[in-house]
């Protein structure tokens, strides 16, 4: 059988990079395969995808050796427009893929390029929306859609063009477990129905085992494994060697879990919420009658489906949102009585995307920003800077990189954490700390949080990541549609299937 994609001794180096990003890749992909591509951050997974639809070398400058053929077309000789009709590429961030103002227009724009008439375009839009289960969403604006819906629209806009190959670069990293499952099931069904070839980049080992028939593992630009999924499932050693996540048996794991060190009966709450309600201007009731206590030195995970009110709740913890009804007390005093600067010294808050949180040009300036703003003395600033740089191992990056702009996402996230920790907060809140990161980076990051927790810091994380919940959190707070289901020890939660269902939790 003739492969639909073939890499022949292909190497690639970006103009700005020092080393080869892909090294002598030889890979054949056949029609109707569902291929999972795995590998640590920086292994060359996204670059490999860009080579399959011509973004490399047609759009990027660099050094190239070998060839890539897609449906018999040499990617170095064909036009992007012709390759784009055969190969659809869905990116990680669905937000960045929308260029038009409504769902309908977004799907239509590609079909106009195919010179279809209005009737045909109408039919294809309806078909594509039905395919992804979003009939009737044609007139919605991107801002009105959830993360999962946006990703499904991105798939619909590609599928409407009826490509032969569908490539997805980490399409589920921002989604909750239900959203992830929906996307994988959708991919499986369209692959069977249309004999489509699907290539999926993901860190979701369990899902890849479940859905892909073949797996390619990359490490530092080289193929480390290329074979049937069944051959890989038992190969835990390879996963450990490369630093990828290997699914664990939760039931065995529960036995090793510690209970929370925090004894609630002996403690006064550091955060206390009574009868809290919050409604957004568009009348969405985000929080309904929340009553909650958070104690000193807890390690909490706030969990629930997308849109269940998790972020709205934590924004009440640090006074970013003022309670519309009810009271939020921080250290026994209403949060409304604190100034912004005082709260920032008690509660540190890390955003999901570090790009939203880094304002300065250099690592040093970034770390010192909050301290200078709060008018700390120069000696104290210097002392705290040195401490945090040592703790988070940022010294080497400070020496190499003149600007924070060139740091990798993992290091930028660590810097964002440093910029918050330097204020020595008693409570640390982190929104989705693991999104889009590989297993090794997640482990490193979570180890830092564990270290902080051992130094009596209260850690609160908002997460969908079942590994992080099971392995690190001591208690979970479950939200569902703005209501608090309860606060439970993680050990208890991991045994309760009903609670897991409400929280859209799937065991790691």
């Amino acid at each position: 059988m003739k492969p639909i994609i073939e890499f022949k001794d292909f190497s690639w180096k970006y103009k700005a990079s020092k080393d080869l990003v892909l090294k002598s890749i030889n890979l054949k992909i056949y029609r109707n395969e569902f291929i999972g591509i795995m590998g640590p951050t920086g292994a060359g997974k996204s670059t490999l995808c860009s080579c399959m639809n011509g973004l490399i070398p047609l759009r990027s400058r660099g050094w190239i050796k070998g060839t890539v053929e897609v449906s018999g077309m040499d990617t170095q000789k064909e036009k992007m427009a012709d390759l784009g009709k055969k190969v659809g590429l869905v990116f990680q961030d669905p937000e960045a893929q929308f260029v038009m103002m409504t769902v309908e227009d977004e799907i239509a724009i590609g079909l106009e390029t195919l010179c279809l008439n209005r009737e045909e375009i109408r039919e294809r839009i309806d078909w594509a929306l039905k395919l992804v289960g979003l009939e009737g969403y044609g007139n919605k604006a991107p801002d009105e859609l959830s993360g999962g819906q946006k990703q499904r629209i991105a798939i619909a806009s590609i599928m409407a063009m009826r490509p032969e190959i569908l490539i997805l670069d980490e399409p589920t990293s921002d989604l909750d477990p239900d959203g992830k499952r929906e996307i994988f099931e959708l991919l499986e069904s369209i692959r069977n129905e249309f004999q489509l070839t699907i290539i999926l980049v993901s860190h979701e080992t369990k899902k890849i085992f479940q859905f892909c028939n073949r797996v390619v593992i990359l490490e530092e630009g080289e193929i480390k494994f290329n074979g049937e999924t069944s051959q890989l499932v038992q190969n835990e050693v390879l996963f450990k060697e490369i630093g990828l996540y290997y699914p664990i048996d939760t039931l065995n794991y529960i036995q090793t879990l510690e209970n929370s060190k925090c004894d609630e009966s002996q403690n006064t709450p550091i955060i206390e919420i009574s009868n809290l309600y919050y409604t957004y201007p568009n009348q969405t009731e985000a929080l309904k009658n929340i009553n909650l206590k958070v104690f000193h030195n807890e390690f909490l995970a706030i969990i629930g489906k997308n849109g269940s009110g998790k972020t709205t709740l934590i924004k009440h913890f640090n006074g970013l949102f003022k309670p519309q009804k009810g009271i939020v007390r921080l250290k026994n005093k209403p949060i409304t009585e604190y100034s912004i600067s005082k709260i920032s010294q008690i509660i540190g808050y890390c955003y999901q995307n570090p790009d939203h949180q880094l304002f300065k040009n250099t690592i040093r300036e970034e770390i010192e920003y909050g301290l200078k703003n709060l008018k700390f003395s120069n000696d104290e600033i210097e002392k705290r800077h040195d401490e945090i740089v040592d703790l988070l191992d940022l010294k080497k990056f400070e020496e190499i990189y003149k600007s924070t702009f060139y740091l990798s996402k993992g290091v930028r996230q660590r810097l964002a954490l440093a910029s918050v920790l330097v204020l020595k907060p008693e409570i640390l809140i982190i929104d989705e700390p693991t999104t889009g990161q590989d297993y090794r980076m997640i482990e490193e990051f979570m180890k830092i949080l564990e270290e902080l927790h051992s130094h009596t810091c209260t850690v609160i994380i908002v997460t969908h990541d079942p590994r992080v919940i099971a392995k690190y959190s001591k208690s979970v707070i479950i939200l569902d549609d703005g209501e608090l289901i309860g606060k439970f020890p993680t050990k208890e939660f991991l045994k309760d299937k009903e609670l897991q269902k409400i929280a859209a939790y799937t065991p790691p």
Binding site: L55, G84, F91, S341, V420
Partner: protein, 270 residues
């Protein structure tokens, strides 16, 4: 009004704005302003809503300051002197004096009225033409696809820019940055910090969006492509544009020879 083609609405706003600058007679500008108000009533612009009220007040205050500044810095000699005072004397010479005459008031009012006319035309545009209609309208009259795509991406970018502005501002507040209880220079410095981050994010977004377009095989220059939303211009649209262009040409004529549009029309029927 809704049935008028979006491009006609755009032409109406653009041509009337230029005419408001060209017309020599203040009475004509006042009538144009009245026409503005009729448009605003017909299109039900919610000028008393919270958002619009703020914008209108901010604009009127800015306009008032221009009006007052005219008193201090122009020295229009007129038939009637209302107020005159010398302020700065250097080496026995008055280098700054305020002179307010009937002409000063006339010219200040003239400028303010033209600015108000243009402002209300803008309000009309924002309410009556949606971003989507505008793009569909432009594509229907065979405007280049690449320009329409850039306009669409700009609207998308603005929407994302607005969302990210709040996220970045909140992120700064979590690090103790005060935006309310602080001095004005500090506030300005803080807002500049936000905009630097937003500009970097905007570059990233633009890069991602253009990669997404290319990855979908959508070329910017393609001779043949169909249009899904086709809004043809109708006879009434051509008629409106014809009248607008005629009005514009006549305004230029009036500017050159002097005179009033309204009196010319009355003269025509007398």
């Amino acid at each position: 009004m809704v049935k008028i083609h979006p491009v006609t609405k755009l032409a109406l706003v653009f041509i009337l704005s230029v005419i408001s600058l060209v017309l020599p007679n203040i009475l004509d500008v006042i009538y144009l302003l009245l026409f503005d108000f009729i448009l605003i009533i017909l299109t039900k612009v919610p000028i008393f809503s919270k958002g619009f009220r703020k914008a209108i007040i901010a604009f009127l205050l800015a306009n008032l300051s221009i009006f007052i500044a005219w008193f201090f810095f122009s020295h229009e000699s007129g038939n009637i002197t209302i107020f005159e005072v010398n302020i700065v004397l250097i080496k026995d010479k008055w280098i700054w004096h305020i002179l307010i005459t009937d002409q000063t008031i006339y010219k200040a009012a003239n400028i303010s009225l033209r600015a108000i006319t243009m402002f209300f035309l803008m309000l009309f545009m924002f309410v009556s033409i949606s971003d989507r209609d505008l793009i569909h309208g432009l594509r229907s009259i065979k405007f280049p696809f690449s320009v329409c795509l850039v306009i669409s991406m700009t609207f998308r970018g603005l929407s994302m820019f607005q969302q990210e502005y709040f996220v970045v501002k909140e992120a700064m507040m979590t690090r103790g940055v005060e935006f309310e209880k602080t001095s004005i220079p500090k506030k300005i410095k803080n807002f500049i910090s936000i905009f630097i981050v937003l500009i970097i994010l905007m570059f990233k977004r633009t890069e991602e969006m253009s990669a997404s377009i290319e990855a979908r095989g959508i070329p910017l220059r393609q001779k043949k492509r169909t249009v899904y939303h086709y809004y043809p211009m109708k006879m009434r649209d051509y008629l409106i544009i014809f009248l607008l262009i005629s009005f514009f040409i006549y305004s230029i004529y009036l500017r050159i020879v002097g005179g009033s549009f309204l009196y010319s029309i009355i003269g025509l029927f007398m």
